[in-house]
């Protein structure tokens, strides 16, 4: 509709009070979930009723009860406390596994997208090569080289993950650099660095941020898959994926060992996803 597509009307300015009400509901919900999670992750001792590592041979494989709301595992450890303490590690995974790819991929993608030409061609081939490797296999191989553990998992994911951000940003910068404001900057005599990082990047970064949210949820899942294969978080540390793997043998007899961490992963994933969708809405209104 030509009539409504470009209203000549100025959009009423957003006051502070208006900001909250204008935020998408999904975004608020995502913030709520993740906010709670971050709080729990920062102060797990405050929320956890027991020491997550303490064995209690007298209370092995207890079903959920008032004393142990999520039951206990085969060492008599309190599942609730383990789920709570795991949130710290899982959030760490979500952030550390993705922050380097995000930053590096974004910066590189911005430069490649702006420069174009031969840089773009070379970049294209590298991207092709990296994405043709099955991601999980590559990460398994790299973790095998470096040894299991979270830090090495971050490194492995970092070596591969930047490609996706770089692709997204490069494509977006390519679009943005054709817009008049980029030319306006050049006509004003601004430097390339200023145009790329001050002008193009802030306008191109939204899809990467949205992808980042998804990626954080995927990182948790990847962590759990690696945990299943024994390459992720190391015992006795509680990590949701490891917990699920630990509870695998008890699915029929002690479902609570794996189900509660599973729920935690789903809720966290939901939080990131809602936050991502919300951010997409929020950041897009500026355009």
């Amino acid at each position: 509709m030509t009539d409504t597509a470009r209203p000549e009307t100025p959009v009423p300015s957003r006051g502070r009070a208006g900001l909250l009400s204008r935020l998408p509901r999904t975004f608020m919900f995502g913030v709520l979930i993740l906010g709670t999670l971050v709080l729990i992750a920062i102060f797990p001792e405050f929320f956890a009723p027991y020491d997550p590592l303490a064995f209690d041979y007298s209370a092995v494989l207890q079903p959920p009860s008032a004393a142990h709301p999520f039951g206990t595992d085969n060492f008599g450890r309190d599942v609730l406390s383990r789920v709570i303490h795991a949130s710290t590690i899982n959030l760490q995974i979500a952030i550390f596994a993705t922050i380097t790819p995000f930053v590096f991929g974004t910066l590189l993608g911005a430069v490649v997208g702006y420069v174009g030409g031969i840089a773009e061609t070379i970049f294209g081939r590298v991207v092709d090569a990296v994405i043709t490797f099955p991601f999980l296999v590559l990460v398994i191989a790299i973790v095998s080289v470096l040894g299991p553990g979270l830090v090495n998992m971050y490194i492995a994911v970092g070596l591969v993950g930047w490609v996706f951000y770089a692709r997204i940003i490069a494509a977006e910068v390519k679009v943005q650099k054709r817009l008049d404001y980029a030319d306006a900057g050049r006509a004003m005599g601004y430097t390339h660095t200023r145009i790329v990082f001050r002008h193009l990047l802030p306008n191109s970064v939204t899809p990467a941020i949205v992808y980042w949210m998804t990626d954080m949820a995927l990182a948790i899942l990847l962590g759990s898959s690696l945990g299943y294969l024994g390459l992720g978080a190391q015992p006795p540390a509680a990590e949701w994926g490891v917990q699920i793997a630990e509870g695998k043998n008890f699915m029929a007899t002690a479902w609570w060992i794996s189900v509660f961490p599973g729920i935690a992963i789903v809720i966290t994933g939901l939080g990131f996803s809602l936050l991502g969708d919300g951010l997409a809405d929020l950041l897009r209104t500026r355009k």
Binding site: T2, D3, T4, P7, T9
Partner: protein, 341 residues
Amino acid sequence: MSSETVLSVRGLTASFGQGDRKLTAVNGVSFDVRKGEVLGLVGESGSGKSVTLRALTRLLPEGAEVTGQVMWRGRDLVSLPPAALRQVRGGQISMIFQEPMTALNPVLPVRVQIEENLRAHTGLDAAGRKARSRELLDLVGIPDAARRLNEYPHQFSGGMRQRVMIAIALASDPDLLLADEPTTALDVTIQDQILNLILDLRDELGMSVVFVTHDLGVVAQICDRMAVMYAGRIAEEGPVADVLAQPHHAYTLGLLGSVPHAGGERRPLHSIEGTPPGLAAIPPGCAFNPRCGFATSECRQTLPQLVPSGPARQAACHHRDRVADETTVPIPRAAGSGGGR
């Protein structure tokens, strides 16, 4: 040109959203379209002209609410069941759009896009449809029709695409063509060709045309009558030559003043101050009053009705007589941040 009315619109209202967020884009619009005439709907962005056009066949996004009456061949299109409405759409009333590049499906060859119309509204068999498609391309002046039928929209130039769209719209011999700024995206020489094509087709096929545009020049060149829209309502309506020669509404007068005239080179234009109101903030009274030099307290309080203001003319202005006497737009006294001179 006969004076038989083919389409009669009464109190057409279109709104979006619900409750507090309900926005009324078109508010109580009434007009008639006579057989064989070209009616121009003129206005700026947000005036509701395109929504009006689309509301005629209820071609609005889901969630839009249309009320009022659109009488077509004795039936009210506003309350027509969807299946019956589909027979009207494309069969009796066709529509063409501003951007042929986006209005034609980019992934389907032109042939499919014409033939699906023929399949929906005619009993032609495959061979018949093919022949008719070729005939239609010929009709709108596309050379080498047989070959071009199998091409995709992106393989046509802008002007040719607009011809394709017109061919599709004409596929089932409609009686009314709704044209939504069909030449805005085109260069003047091509616009000239397309406008002439529409007029030729009108003459040949005896259709009526409702032509939405923001360009007063286009209106002057092809329309028989014109209706000027502002903030979802018709401001004034009448024969083109009469309205352009002597506007009866301050907005029309301002619009005319904004267009450069020969002889006024390098002098300030008689522009209208401010910008058209958003749908969410339409001023009470006459919607134009904050930008109007004639505005009085009456204008700020009472909505002017569209009433006859001369032979075959109507205007919705409390001060139509004063406006009619002016040749240029006065500057509103309440002007805020600066004037045009």
